[in-house]
């Protein structure tokens, strides 16, 4: 589903190399986790895949179902089924949460040649999914992420994912800032979406989220590369021993 081949990326400003040859393949139905020290390039990878400006791809590439992801506009990637739950969700004063989500859903459906969802149908979908994530109606009425607590913002990302039903979901530290109960709700949200047609790339620093979302494969990223790949046990190893041993071993 998602294939990343020897992806090399520099910052547009100043030309600093951040990704130095990332190789990663997520097949449909799989859940992959990426762990790695601060500053190793995990968020950069997720932004480049989602289409944020400010980066220059100097080598390699990425495809979604065989289509060249990096040649597409961000909105086309979204319509193709890519979703990024942001590490830092953006506050947008003046844009209502519901308006935003409905416009997004219908824009994606339109791009895919599907009929738009009616206002009533949309309301029903959002209410259901919001309830499951313990997001109250009051929050939905507010502008996008404005005045939301850190954990509320993360839950709002998962609500968007639940409503948009993307096929390739990238979660960048969605667990950071969540209390124990919220973490469970978010993990359940992810698990509800898990199916044979869908792929997940879960970026996290902690084993706790992975207790709830059992990954099939765990990668360690360091200095812009995937330096080690293993099973769920790799995450436990990091949790217990940190990165020193792994980094020494691959050096």
């Amino acid at each position: 589903m998602l294939e990343i081949n020897d992806l090399r990326v520099e910052l547009e400003d100043g030309g600093k190399a951040i990704l130095k040859g990332v190789d990663l393949t997520v097949k449909a139905g799989e859940v992959h986790a990426i762990m790695g020290p601060n500053g190793s390039g995990k968020s950069t990878l997720s932004y480049v895949l989602a289409g944020r400006e400010g980066y220059v791809v100097t080598g390699g590439g990425a495809t979604l179902d065989g289509d060249d992801l990096l040649a597409m506009e961000p909105e086309a990637r979204a319509a193709a089924g890519l979703f990024l739950a942001f590490q830092y969700p953006v506050e947008i004063p003046g844009v209502g949460n519901m308006t935003f989500l409905r416009t997004a859903l219908n824009a994606q459906r339109k791009a895919r040649g599907e009929p738009e969802v009616s206002a009533a149908e949309f309301l029903r979908i959002v209410r259901d999914k919001a309830r499951a994530l313990a997001i109250d109606a009051e929050m939905l009425k507010r502008p996008v992420n404005v005045g939301f607590s850190g954990g509320e913002k993360k839950r709002n990302e998962i609500l968007q994912m639940a409503v948009l039903e993307p096929r390739m979901c990238i979660l960048d530290e969605t667990d950071s800032g969540l209390d124990v109960d919220a973490m469970r709700l978010v993990a359940e949200g992810v698990n509800r979406l898990r199916d044979a047609g869908r792929g997940f790339l879960v970026i996290t620093h902690y084993q706790r989220l992975l207790d709830h979302i059992r990954p099939d494969i765990v990668h360690i990223m360091a200095d812009g590369r995937i330096v080690k790949t293993g099973g769920p046990g790799l995450a436990l190893e990091v949790e217990q021993n940190g990165y020193a041993d792994i980094l020494a071993e691959v050096a």
Partner: protein, 425 residues
């Protein structure tokens, strides 16, 4: 101040008063004529004309607008139930106006001024008292010369808004209108203004808001590209009264909107807001002065401008708090969203505070669309144009929120949507 002498053409206009305006109106006009003569014409060196060239507003004639550009009669607030009063090229159009009366509201044409004796205490009075902190010679000239206008008095609560619809058929009409609005104590009135009234339109509106009265004003200027306009809003607020004025300016080659609000009684509220949208040959100027002359009053100025392709926005705004106006709550924000590098925003935000127990704040910013927000929306599937439109509307939301009537707010939002849709990329 080194003010230029009136040009001969303007001087000739000042001498040629309309006939048949005997009595108090003639006296008021005579006094205004002397005022206008003494003030001269505005010039680039004047303190509040540095950002805006008054040239087209003081030229001998209106700018010529090609016939092809003459507007249709499409109305900004077509769906709103109101008492409609129509002016075409600066002249009242009785045939196009609603004949029916509105209970509790008296509407008299300026030409019939003798029938509205009450207006004697208003016509030219607020203008004469409103040359602060600088003279407003265009307003004085208007008081002297205005060819037409309405004298509106609300004695109680008006069930529907009064809507003044401006239409233009001529490519060279030079309209000059003067309206007076008086709200008796406890009265309520919503005044709506819509459309382009002339190739060049100069208006003065004097508003006296009585004790506990509520005056709402919603105005839509445009969407014609070529006309020029200068408007002056003078208001005096009695105790516990409410004054809200919102102006949408969509297009127009040159628009200068001046407001002078005197908060004369305690516990009153004055909100002035504006949303300006310009693309290309567009120069829009809000020059707003709020004078707090009583205790415990609240004022807000919220002005937002969306500019692209060389459009210019100007905001000059002052909150002036007199020594005895304690417990004043004053707020002023002026912001421009510059959609490209050619657009410019010129701002002169001012606070002048002589009381010590007040809460006043102001801010002014200019910037592009936020790249992070834009990416977030696009990453959720919104095409760039749609995402930008949403962010432009969001930028304007604080100003639109000042409109108290939901149906009028929705109509303004539709106008904004329409404009944004036509001016993409």
């Amino acid at each position: 101040m080194g003010r230029p002498e009136p040009k001969p053409a303007a001087d000739a206009r000042l001498s040629a008063l309309p006939d048949g305006t005997a009595g108090w109106l003639a006296e008021a006009r005579e006094a205004a004529r002397a005022r206008a003569r003494a003030l001269g014409l505005p010039g680039r060196r004047d303190e509040y004309w540095r950002f805006t060239n008054p040239g087209p507003l003081v030229a001998a004639g209106a700018p010529g607008i090609a016939d092809a550009a003459v507007a249709g009669d499409a109305e900004a607030f077509a769906g709103i139930d109101a008492l409609r009063l129509v002016f075409r090229d600066g002249v009242f159009d009785a045939a196009a106006s609603d004949a029916a009366a509105l209970a509790g509201v008296e509407v008299v044409r300026l030409a019939d001024a003798p029938r509205a004796g009450w207006a004697r205490d208003l016509y030219g009075r607020l203008e004469a008292a409103g040359h602060l902190p600088v003279p407003r010679p265009l307003a004085a000239a208007n008081t002297a010369l205005a060819a037409d206008g309405l004298l509106i008095r609300a004695r109680t609560g008006a069930a529907r808004p009064v809507m003044i619809v401006y239409r233009r058929s001529s490519g060279s009409s030079d309209g000059m209108l003067h309206h007076c609005v008086r709200l008796d104590a406890g009265a309520r009135l919503t005044l709506v203004e819509a459309g382009t009234g002339a190739a060049r339109l100069t208006t003065v509106t004097e508003v006296e808001v009585g004790e506990g009265a509520v005056f709402h004003h919603i105005r839509a200027q445009g969407p014609e590209e070529a006309p020029v306009a200068a408007t002056h809003l003078f208001a005096r607020l009695a105790a516990r009264s409410e004054f809200r004025s919102f102006t949408l300016t969509a297009n127009g080659r040159l628009t200068r909107n001046e407001a002078f609000v005197e908060i004369a009684g305690p516990g009153a509220l004055a909100h002035l807001a504006g949303a300006a949208l310009g693309d290309g040959a567009f120069h829009q100027d809000d020059t707003v002065f709020v004078r707090h002359a009583a205790e415990g009053c609240e004022s807000r100025q919220v002005f937002k401008k969306v500019l692209r392709h060389g459009a210019t926005g100007v905001f000059q705004g002052k909150i002036h708090v007199l020594p005895h106006a304690q417990k004043t709550d004053g707020y002023q924000i002026s912001q421009a969203l510059l959609l490209d590098e050619d657009a410019q925003f010129l701002a002169k935000p001012e606070l002048e505070i002589y009381a010590d127990d007040v809460k006043c704040s102001h801010g002014s910013t200019a910037g592009a669309i936020d790249a992070t927000s834009l990416f977030y929306l696009r990453a959720r599937g919104l095409p760039r144009a749609e995402a930008e439109a949403l962010l432009v509307l969001a930028f304007l939301a604080e100003a639109v929120a000042e409109i108290a009537e939901p149906d009028l707010a929705a109509a303004v939002e539709a106008l904004l949507d329409d404009w944004i849709g036509r001016h993409r990329g």
